[in-house]
Amino acid sequence: MTAAFEMRGIRKTFGATVALDGVDLSVAAGEICGLVGQNGAGKSTLMAILAGALEPDGGSMAIDGRPYAPRSPIEARRAGVAMIYQELSLAPDLSVMENIVLGAEPMRFGLVDRHRMRELASAALAQLGHQDIPPEAKAGTLSVAAQQLVEVARALAIGCRVLVLDEPTSSLGRADVQQLFALLERLKSQGHAIVYISHFIEEVKAVTDRFVVLRDGRNAGGGATRDASNDAIVALMVGAAQGDLFPRSPRRRGDAILDVHALEPGSASFTLHRGEILGIAGLVGSGRTRLLRTIFGLEPIRSGRVRLGVVTAKGESESRRADPRARWREGMGLLSEDRKAEGLALGLSVADNLTLTRLDPFGPPPLVFPARQQAASRTWIAKMDIRCAGPTQPAGELSGGNQQKIALARLLHHDVDVLVLDEPTRGIDVGSKAQIYRLIDALVADPDAGSAPLSTRKPKAVLMVSNYLPELLGLCDRIAVMRRGRLEAPQPADGLTEHDLVMRATGAA
């Protein structure tokens, strides 16, 4: 079979981070190729390059043997490459047929030819075997599965022959997934080249002919899908064991301090103790962030409970009210996964960002003396080795690693007992990562064991989510896996391997 498209030696760097380091991918006409890899392996970057959304730093691409170098997604579409993203990109207030011909409306005497438009749309829907979708209906009134079909129809209507589906099943029910798989078989028999991206190994097994594994921006392997076991695919995704980068001071499990019981959303039940790090593993979109936000009161609790404070028969503080203000008061702080949009105010100074949750030491209320605020910030800047011009520098001028340290220092300045950390090392340099690992370890260290924790008081408790499994295995005492919105019971991290976690998170186990 001839390759419908071919990517050779694709390289892409973002600043100091190498996202893709010489990746090859080719897919034949009439073939479905699964693209797998852990979060951050480079799948999305590679597909963004194929779809013209990013320009590669090196390498070459070809479609049907002709060189292909799109400078924009529109050029890519004209060349026959269409992306179907996780988030649907239909205009909800336009009709199905208007969506299908959007940007390529048939014209007659300078006006849109609605008759021809209906014909084109009906033809595209018929090609998919879905004449049941009414071309006149508003796109927003259709089910998610039907909207996805309309997106595929749009790609076909403008003559796309290479289709990339990025996690297409993430918002579909079981029956819709089967329907989608049937559609893919149909498109395959019509001679389209299809790239299928999924975290779910069983889907890749079910629908693809061939698979390609990416790991850390490189080709890690691949082959015919029917010859590969789940184990073999996961082994390629995980790779060789990493060296021990993670410090581990002596820890002693103290009082229970956070009790989560039958919490919905998340189906979560666990107890967190002082002197303990509990990790949550799982795929992007499995509901980990939502669980943390629900615990912290940023999203409503549907049922179940969250109890904070020393959990004993008497004197416990039960929090029915979900409210971040109450959480800070009760001694819990959250580090957001989205540093720029939620973690920090980039226009405000380092000092304002760092001290916002606890301003009362800086003057008799309601006064806040900037000099005192800055003095306190200087202490944290020194303690956490934050590289900045001073406490009055706007946070937005700092590097990602230093910004993250400010966001983390906020929890330390507030002196919370429970630190809820969502992706504490996302997008930061290696040096800052190591410092943050040491810091997190020091927070839960046993003060009687002679180590030097940052706070001389009781050890803290940490609840953390991370995509980077070696980080979870290296830091955590216990790890719980989240899959499709449900949290499993935590297990001691000692006996676990990356392989186990990937198997469970992807449903391969």
């Binding site: 940023l298 409210d323 971040p324 949009a341 105010a345 405000l348 003057g363 209320p365 806040v368 011009a389």
Partner: protein
């Protein structure tokens, strides 16, 4: 003080000096005579007072288009109270109180209906203007002459400056201190800079917003008092479009409609730039259309320069 905030203020200051120098050269030395400077101060006092409130609203990431209407309502309420025999103090309090209620309404609508401030205050701009006309029965309300009418009059006594100017100065110092030295000030900048972060950090967002809109309306009420002092009647059609001058002063002074930025010093300089253009054009005998073109140009240039500045850093 950070490099940027220094630039913010020096940028506006340089603009102020340039504008002053140009009109000084055009009009002559007498342009800077104390009497002329005082004239400019009296011209700008109303806009300046309202702009102090707008500075706080814009720093919060909001906007208030109902300012002109609130000023009209204040003059009407004061005049009606005086006509009905209230003392000047009581009448002023009633006028400012009426404005405060409008601000409270703005704040409550914005936070409880979750409608963007632009739309809410566009609505209340009409509602409040209508209310002012209703109270005044669509006429001017004549009020007896009291000491309120002298607030913006040149003083011959020991005060040096008219009482109204002193009021602006005191209000500016207070608002500046609140922005810089209180928890409330830190919270409102946090909301204006990144509301999601403020929520994560447990800032009481609705309460802060309601207080900000009410505080701003009280300052607008004070501006309404100065307006009454100037025209000596309750006029429901006064100050139409004044909100745009007020917003312009804040923007020229380095405030950002995206929120998180704005300072009292900048706003005062912004208002001063506009006053110099106004008075300068009049004294040079330039028509009012020249003045409008100049002011409009300066607004766009100020914001464009600001963009260049903030992207370079």
């Amino acid at each position: 003080m950070t490099a940027r905030s220094l630039l913010d203020r020096t940028g506006t200051l340089i603009g102020l000096i340039l504008v002053a120098a140009i009109f000084g050269a055009l009009v002559g030395r007498q342009f800077f005579a104390p009497a002329n400077v005082e004239l400019m101060a009296r011209q700008t006092a109303i806009v300046c007072m309202a702009a102090l409130g707008m500075t706080v609203v814009i720093a919060l990431g909001g906007i208030d288009l109902s300012v002109g209407s609130m000023i009209a309502l204040t003059t009407v309420v004061i005049a009606a109270a005086l006509r009905d025999g209230a003392s000047p103090i009581v009448a002023s309090a009633a006028g400012i109180g009426a404005a405060a209620i409008c601000g409270l309404l703005n704040g409550v609508l914005i936070t409880q209906l979750r409608v963007v401030p632009f739309i809410v205050t566009l609505g209340t701009m009409l509602v409040v203007r209508g209310a002012a006309k209703g109270i005044a029965e669509e006429r001017r309300i004549e009020a007896p002459i009291t000491w309120l009418n002298g607030l913006l009059r040149t003083q011959s006594g020991s005060l040096l400056l008219p009482g109204g100017i002193w009021a602006v100065i005191v209000a500016a110092l207070l608002v500046g201190a609140v922005l810089r030295y209180t928890r409330f000030g830190r919270h409102l900048f946090a909301i204006g800079s990144n509301e999601r972060m403020a929520r994560l950090c447990g800032v009481a967002i609705s309460r802060t917003k309601i207080v900000v809109y009410t505080l701003s309306a009280i300052l607008t009420g004070l501006a309404g008092l100065l307006q009454f002092s100037k025209i000596a009647v309750g006029d429901p059609t006064v100050a139409i479009g004044l909100e745009l001058d007020v917003i312009a002063a804040v923007i020229i002074g380095g405030g950002s409609l995206l929120g998180g930025r704005g300072s009292v010093a900048g706003t005062i300089m912004g208002a001063a730039i506009m006053a110099i253009i106004q008075v300068g054009c009049t004294q040079k005998g330039l028509a009012s259309w020249v003045q409008q073109i100049l002011t409009g140009t300066i607004i766009v240039v100020a914001v464009a320069l600001d963009r260049v500045r903030s992207t370079r850093i």
